[in-house]
Amino acid sequence: MAAFLFRRVLGMILVLAVVSFIVYLVFIVIPGGDPAIRIAGRTATQANIFSIRHKLGLDQPFYVQWYDMVKALFTGTLVSYSDQTNVVSQIWQGLPVTLSLSIGAGIIWLGFGVLVGVIAAVTAGKVSDRLITVLALIGVSMPVFWLGILLRYALAEQNSWFPDGGYVPLTQNPAQWFYHLILPWLTLAVLFIGFYGRVLRSNVLDTINEDYVRTAKAKGLSPRRILVRHVLRTSLIPIVTLFGLDFAAVLGGGAILTETVYDLHGVGFYARTAIGNLDLPPLMGVTLYGALFIVLFSTLVDVAYAYLDPRIRPA
C-alpha cells in the first residue's frame, strides 16, 4: 500500500508539472499573447515594452519563466498581469463559493442519482422506469447554462420565488446562503442525476443476473437484503469512481458555466475573467488548482476502489 501511494504521489507531481508547462506553452505559442505589449498599452514605446518584459521576466528563456512562475505560485507571490492582484489570495477568496456550490450539488446529484437509478432498475420495464429513463435522457441532453438561464428566468425573474443570482457567505447568514444556492445546486445536479441514474440502472441490471445473486436468492435472503448487501455493493463501485472524478472537476473550476450564469464569484468565475483578459498567472493558478483536485481525487478513487472491491486490491 505504501509503495502504491508513493507511486501515485510521484505520478501526481509529474502530471501537475507537465500540465503547468502546457498551460505555459499554450500562452507563449499564441501570437499576440505577449503580455508586455498588452500591459504597455496603445501608445507604448519600444523601450516601455522592453522594460515591462524585463520586469516580468519575459526576456528569459521560456523554461526559466515557467519555473519562476510555478515557484511564485507555490510561495504565494504570484500576481496577475492585468490588475496586479495576488493569484493565490484570489483563489482563496473564490474557494468558499465553489466549495459551497460543489458540495451541495454533489450531495444532491449523488443522492438522487442513486435513488433514481435504483428505482428504475427494480421497476425495470414498468411506467416508473420508463418515465425516469425519459427524464434522465432529457437531463443529460440539456446544456447546463441554458437550464440555468431558464430556471433563473422562470423562478427568480418572472416570479421572485428565489433570489436572482449572487452569493451570501455561510458565516454571514446561513439561511440566505442556502436560499441563494438552491437554484445553482439544482442546475448543476440535473445533468449528473440523469447520467448517474442511467449508469446505475444498467449496472444493477447486469449484477442481478450474476451467479452469486442467484445463490443469495436460493439461500432465501429477503429481496431487500439481496439488493442492498449483494447487488448494490457491486453496482455502486463504478458510481464511486464517477463521483470522485466529477466532483473533483466541479471543485476544480468545472462549474464555470453555473458560476457564470448565477453570478457566483467562485474559482471558475475567476478563471473565466482571467481567460477573458488573457491573463496568464491566474490561469496558471486555477488550472494547477483544478488539476490538483482531479489528480488527488483519482488517487482517492483508486484507494476507495481497492477497499470496496477486494478482487482488485493491490497485492
Binding site: P143, W146, G253, T260
Partner: protein, 365 residues
C-alpha cells in the same frame, strides 16, 4: 441503457430466424451486421429519433433556402428601424418605446429596444421565431447557427474518433513503452477540467488565429473550436478502445495472423479494426452529442464561434441579458440543442442495444 417505451429485444438465434422463414428451411448464414440491422429496425423509438436528427441536419443545411425564400433576410442582416405588417397591423421590429393610451383609458408603456416576438406564420414567414435586438431574424440565425454547431460537432467528433482509433491501436497492439506514453498522454488531457482547457485554448487561439507549422488559421475560423473540442475528447474514446484492443490482442485469430506472417499494420487494420467497428459506431454517436454540447458551452463563454457568425451557443449568450423582455431569443436556440442532443443520445442507445444485445439483460421477476 434501454431506450424509451420499446419492447425488450431478444437475441435472434439462427433457429428463430429459420422458424420465422417457414420452419423447415435451411438455416441461412447471416452476418452480425444483418442481425444488428434487424434489431435496430424493430426499435421504432430509436429510428424516430434518428429521423428527427436527420431532419434537423437537413433543415440547417437548407438555411440559405429558408433565408432567400421564406424569411427573405440573411443571418446577419439587421433591421432596427424596420416595420412589418401582421394581420393588417404595422409593428416595429425593434420597439422605439413610448406610451400609448388604449381605448379603455388604460396606459400602455412600451420600453425601447425590445425586439419583436415570435410571429409564427402571421407575418408571411418573417420573424417566425422573433427577432434579436438588432432586428435580425432569429429563425434564420438559428438555422445558420445550427449549420455551424452541427459542423463543429460532427467534424470534431470525427477527428477525435480517428485520432483515438490510431492511439488505441498503437497502444493496445504494441504495449510496453508505446502504451505507457499514450496512456500518460490520455491521463494528461484527463487531468484538465474539460471546459477550462477548452476555454483557455479557444480564447488563446481566437485572438489572432494560429500561424505555426505551416498552418494559417484565422481567429474566427470554425476550425479553432473544432480542433479544441476534438483534442479535449480524445481520452474519452481512446481509453475504452485501448482496453478492447488489449483484449483482442490475446485472441487466437491474432496469433494465427502472426503465424501467417502478416505485418503489424495489416493485423491492426484488417484483423483488429473490424472487431472494434461496432464500438466505434456507438461511441461516435454518443460523442457527437457531447461535442455539440461542448461547442455550445464554449461559444456561450465566448471561446468558440466568434460573432457575428451565429451558433446555438452564441445565440443563447446574446439573448441572456435580455431574457426578461425577449425570452424567446435564448429559449429557441436552447430547444434546438436539446432536440439535437436528445435525438443523438436516444439513437446511440438504440444502436448499442442493437449491436451488442448481451449488454442488455433481461430481468426475471
Amino acid at each position: 441503457m434501454a431506450t424509451t417505451g420499446t419492447e425488450e429485444f431478444t437475441l435472434d438465434t439462427a433457429a428463430e430466424l429459420a422458424a420465422e422463414e417457414g420452419g423447415g428451411a435451411a438455416i441461412q448464414g447471416r452476418s452480425p451486421w444483418v442481425l444488428a440491422a434487424r434489431r435496430l429496425r424493430r426499435n421504432y423509438v430509436a429510428l424516430a429519433f434518428l429521423a428527427l436528427f436527420l431532419l434537423i441536419v437537413v433543415c440547417c443545411l437548407l438555411a440559405p433556402v429558408y433565408s432567400s425564400h421564406i424569411s427573405g433576410v440573411g443571418p446577419n442582416d439587421t433591421n432596427i428601424n424596420g416595420t412589418i405588417v401582421v394581420n393588417g397591423q404595422k409593428l416595429d421590429v425593434v420597439s422605439n418605446g413610448g406610451i400609448t393610451t388604449l381605448g379603455n383609458g388604460q396606459v400602455k408603456v412600451v420600453p425601447a429596444g425590445v425586439p419583436i416576438g415570435p410571429q409564427w406564420f402571421n407575418a408571411g414567414g418573417k420573424y417566425v421565431l422573433g427577432a434579436d435586438n438588432l432586428g435580425r431574424d432569429l429563425a434564420t440565425r438559428i438555422l445558420y447557427g445550427g449549420e455551424n454547431s452541427l459542423q463543429i460537432g460532427l467534424a470534431s467528433a470525427a477527428i477525435t474518433t480517428l485520432l483515438s482509433i490510431v492511439f488505441a491501436l498503437l497502444a493496445g497492439y504494441y504495449g510496453g513503452v508505446v502504451d505507457w506514453i499514450i496512456t500518460r498522454f490520455f491521463d494528461l488531457i484527463w487531468a484538465f477540467p474539460v471546459i477550462l482547457l477548452g476555454i483557455a485554448l479557444g480564447t488563446a487561439l481566437s485572438i489572432n488565429g494560429f500561424h505555426h507549422f505551416g498552418l494559417d488559421v484565422s481567429g474566427s475560423s470554425l476550425w479553432i473550436p473544432t480542433a479544441v473540442i476534438s483534442y479535449v475528447y480524445i481520452p474519452y474514446i481512446g481509453r475504452p478502445l485501448r482496453g478492447q484492443v488489449l483484449a483482442l490482442r490475446e485472441k487466437e485469430f491474432i496469433e494465427a495472423a502472426v503465424a501467417q506472417g502478416a505485418s503489424s499494420a495489416r493485423i491492426m487494420v484488417s484483423e483488429i479494426l473490424p472487431n472494434l467497428a461496432s464500438s466505434i459506431l456507438v461511441l461516435f454517436t454518443l460523442i457527437v452529442a457531447n461535442t455539440i454540447l461542448t461547442e455550445a458551452a464554449l461559444s456561450f463563454l465566448g471561446a468558440g464561434v466568434q460573432p457575428p457568425n451565429p451558433s446555438w451557443g452564441t445565440l443563447i449568450s446574446d439573448g441572456e441579458s435580455d431574457i426578461v423582455t425577449a425570452p424567446w431569443w435564448s429559449i429557441a436556440p436552447g430547444v434546438a440543442i436539446v432536440l439535437t442532443v436528445l435525438s443523438l443520445n436516444v439513437f446511440g442507445d438504440g444502436l448499442r442495444d442493437a449491436l451488442d444485445p448481451r449488454a442488455k439483460v433481461r430481468i426475471e421477476h
